[in-house]
Amino acid sequence: MNPKHLVIRYFTPIAWSLFPARQIKTLHRFSSIEKDSAEQILKCLKNIKSNHLKAHLFQHVLEELYHGDLFLNVAKQDSQNHFYEEPTSINPLLPNEINHQSLRDAFAYIHIGEKIVNRDFIIYGNSSKSNLLRKVFRRAAADEELHEFSTKDILIKFCDSKWTYRFAIIKAHFKRLWTNYLNLLNIIGKMQLTIILSLIYFIVAPVCLLSLKRRLNMCNREQLIIFQDQVNSFEKSLR
């Protein structure tokens, strides 16, 4: 068991029983991940010529969407308050101009993703106290195991040699590492930004407060004049 799996196995059940909101958030994240995965495969499907491969991927998309529904439904059942879906951020695996190589890279990335998520779901399933949740994780894990093998088969079809296959897998591992590194930087960046913005808030806000309140409390007439000025200056700049 790697350290990540140890954390999931022993700390997640405690964290989830202490903070039920955390569990809902995690389930929602899994739903987003599964739906995101479906969309990525769907995009690959739309750019593939072989009809039989398309049919195979179509089934794969259906399964990923269904997993998304399963996690979302459990999250909704457990949610006591208003439930707002947070928008998922999809980092497209495929560039705008799609070719054989970009499809191969995408499938390598998807294959590795299926492998990781399969292991994660098994551990989460074993750690879950709720029967329903355990069932959902095990169902998803069983399907993901099949996906792991099927995406490997597809990837092999896209590779003309053993070396190309290995290269694609290594490239996908590096891409995953790079993405994780960027995500980490993003978190650090956000923390720094929060500190800077908090300082701005406490230093600048008291100074600007009066003028901002005045702007907010302007009457319709004053706001109309400002708006007319904006429109006039825009029109003047174009003419």
């Binding site: 969309e39 398309k54 179509f58 259906l62 928008p87 806000a205 825009f234």
Partner: protein, 623 residues
């Protein structure tokens, strides 16, 4: 002159392409990313618009954004700082969004090779006003825009004129933030347990089940002035984050706790005998009072617009123009000789409006054109046929959340009809037999409503069928009614408004159904015996019109229940694969793309029609 309009950053990001003053393409980003109301930069929509016109980014004269990001940011930050020092979290959230907005010019240049000075930013309400007026048939009109908020403004009155060589749109009056009808309605929507920027239609639908007994309380919140303007008492709301906690303690003390979104309403327009709890009735009453006061505010604001402009024609846009019940009340008041609402009056339409506005400033003597509601992606029948023939439905039922029946490979049949006439005749029979059909033809709608290009169709007189649609296809709350598409002849016969046929091309109004037609349209009727009708004209959508006529020959009623071709939580389907996915995941019986039909040939035990639909002769070949 080739101008690309873009709207993004809040909800319904859209791109629209204008060539020589006419819109040639428009798509929402959600159709490509399949994330409903996707606010992200519409890169897929942009490429789709350009490819439809065979253009590259270099060919564009201007790229126009639908609002001024800097002005918007100053408003967001001002409103958050005004509560200093209690608003740090709001300030942080808004600042992070604002930082992203600042890079919009760089974002555009990253994808489109265009000089920075060719990227323009149009005030939000000018985008809406231009969209409403320039796409209208009027030479002179008053334009009213009512929105949640755009930069510092929430609604505006404009005088628009194209009687000279150039179009002139002049602001006459505005309502500044935070006094906003859109924000008021969204906040109430959130209080009622629906999602903001998505569930407003649920508030409108729920209103029909309630009584306006909270109007006096709500009038303390939304004050309507004698001159037609309005003001919000902001002590009842916290508008910094409408989606999460929009109401204050004062509000809760008066109207009680917000509804939990887990709790499902049992209201059903198709079954009035369902027992309703006192708590549910209270929320319906609040929804009704909200709708009531919104209508009152809109009517008085429109009267103000008429007084200020002295015009008899109205062009109307902004998010509030999607409220078809309020639109109908406005129509019945007969304040104006004519009312024009574009097919996509919300923020999505702002992209087209911004581009049209810049075009109107750069060009002279532009002719009035007839706007098409379907400027989206063209559906590919050939790829659909190829994929449909190799699909194996054996596992579909295992991965469907709607308990669809198990299918064998032989239960799925693909056929291509040799002519439109044969297809329509066959399809009319299938619909008459009670089958539910996914219908995709030509280019997709560019607004939120299905207008016969990406629609689910079924007979409008079968309540059980519409229940099946709600439960096994759309996963939709039973209190939300469906819309109806009908021919002009049928509209004259069935709807109680003399101009209903000419007014309802794009489902902007709801109409009272005449007593004699109630049984014919019962599955698409709301509790108040109204329906959101779309009148289909042969020149607008010939295939759909002919289908209605063919169905009318069998049933005696040239009308079909018409709802958007999408699953719950997803946007309208865009291409054939999206349509196939929905066909596989739900209990749809037939999928039609162009002249190709994919059919589930399953003998349902619960089928209420005894006719054997499968015995209908098909003069075609099977794959």
């Amino acid at each position: 002159m080739k101008i690309l309009g873009i709207s993004s950053g809040y909800h319904d990001a859209t791109a629209a392409l204008i060539i020589n003053g006419k819109p040639v393409a428009s798509s929402a980003e959600e159709r490509f990313t399949r994330k409903k109301h996707d606010p992200s930069f519409p890169i897929n929509a942009i490429f789709d618009c350009l490819s439809q016109a065979n253009l590259n980014g270099d060919d564009l004269n201007y790229v126009v954004f639908h609002e001024r990001p800097f002005t918007k940011v100053t408003r967001s930050l001002s409103s958050s700082i005004s509560d200093f020092p209690k608003s740090l979290d709001t300030f942080l959230n808004l600042s992070k969004d604002a930082i992203q907005t600042f890079w919009i010019r760089q974002n555009i240049r990253k994808h489109i090779k265009i000089a920075p000075e060719k990227i323009l930013f149009v005030p939000h309400h000018m985008s809406h006003a231009s969209h409403a007026f320039i796409t209208s048939p009027h030479k002179k009109a008053v334009v009213v825009t009512i929105d949640a908020v755009g930069e510092w403004i929430s609604s505006g009155i404009f005088l628009a004129d194209r009687t000279r060589d150039q179009i002139k749109i002049q602001p006459l009056d505005i309502t500044p933030f935070p006094h906003s009808l859109g924000l008021f309605y969204s906040a109430m929507t959130s209080f009622l347990g629906f999602k903001v920027n998505d569930g407003e239609c649920s508030t409108m639908a729920l209103a029909a089940f309630g009584r306006p007994i909270y109007v006096d309380t709500l009038k303390k919140i939304l004050q309507i002035m004698p001159d037609g303007s309005y003001a919000l008492d902001t002590s009842w709301f916290t508008f910094k984050d409408v989606a999460r906690a929009p109401v204050t303690k004062k509000f809760l003390d008066s109207l009680g706790n917000p509804r939990s979104c887990k709790h499902e309403f049992l209201f059903d327009p198709l079954n009035v005998k369902t027992p309703i709890s006192a708590e549910d009735q209270k929320y319906a009453d609040i929804a009704c009072s909200t709708q009531h006061i919104l209508q009152e505010a809109i009517i008085s604001y429109m009267a103000r617009a008429k007084n200020l402009s002295k015009e008899v024609n109205l062009c109307y846009s902004g998010g509030a123009a999607l409220n078809c019940v309020a639109n109908s009340v406005l129509l019945n008041k007969q304040l104006f000789n004519s009312i024009y609402i574009p097919p996509d009056p919300g923020d999505g339409g702002g992209a087209m409006g911004a581009a049209l506005y810049v075009d109107s400033l750069m060009s002279k003597n532009r002719e009035i054109f007839d706007i098409r509601p379907n400027l989206g992606t063209h559906i590919d029948e050939a790829s659909f046929k190829e994929l449909a023939t190799v699909l194996d439905p054996a596992q579909w039922h295992r991965f469907s959340s709607t308990q669809t029946p198990a299918l064998k490979k032989t239960d799925l049949m693909v056929t291509t009809f040799s002519s439109d006439a044969l297809l329509l005749e066959w399809l009319a029979k299938q619909l008459f037999c009670g089958r539910i059909v996914g219908w995709c033809q030509g280019r997709a709608e560019n607004g939120p409503r299905a207008l016969g290009y990406r629609s689910i169709l079924l007979r409008p007189d079968d309540v059980e069928l519409s229940r099946r649609l709600s439960k096994k296809i759309k996963l939709r709350a039973p209190f939300r009614p469906y819309a109806v598409a009908l021919t002009q002849n049928e509209a004259i016969k069935s709807l109680e408004h003399q101009d209903s046929a000419s007014l309802s091309r794009w489902m902007q109004f709801s109409y009272k159904v005449s007593k004699s037609a109630e049984s014919k349209l019962c599955a698409a009727l709301h509790i108040d015996k109204t329906t959101r009708a779309q009148c289909v004209f042969p020149e607008d959508n010939p295939a759909f019109h002919n289908l209605l006529v063919s169905y009318g020959k069998l049933s005696g009623c040239e009308a079909l229940l018409n709802t958007s071709f999408n699953e719950s939580g997803f946007p309208l389907v865009n291409d054939s694969t999206d349509a196939l996915l929905m066909f596989a995941r739900t209990d749809l019986d037939i999928l039609i793309i162009g002249n190709t039909v994919l059919e589930k040939r399953l003998d349902k035990k619960n089928e209420s029609y005894k006719d054997n639909c499968f015995n209908i002769e098909r003069p075609l070949h099977r794959f």
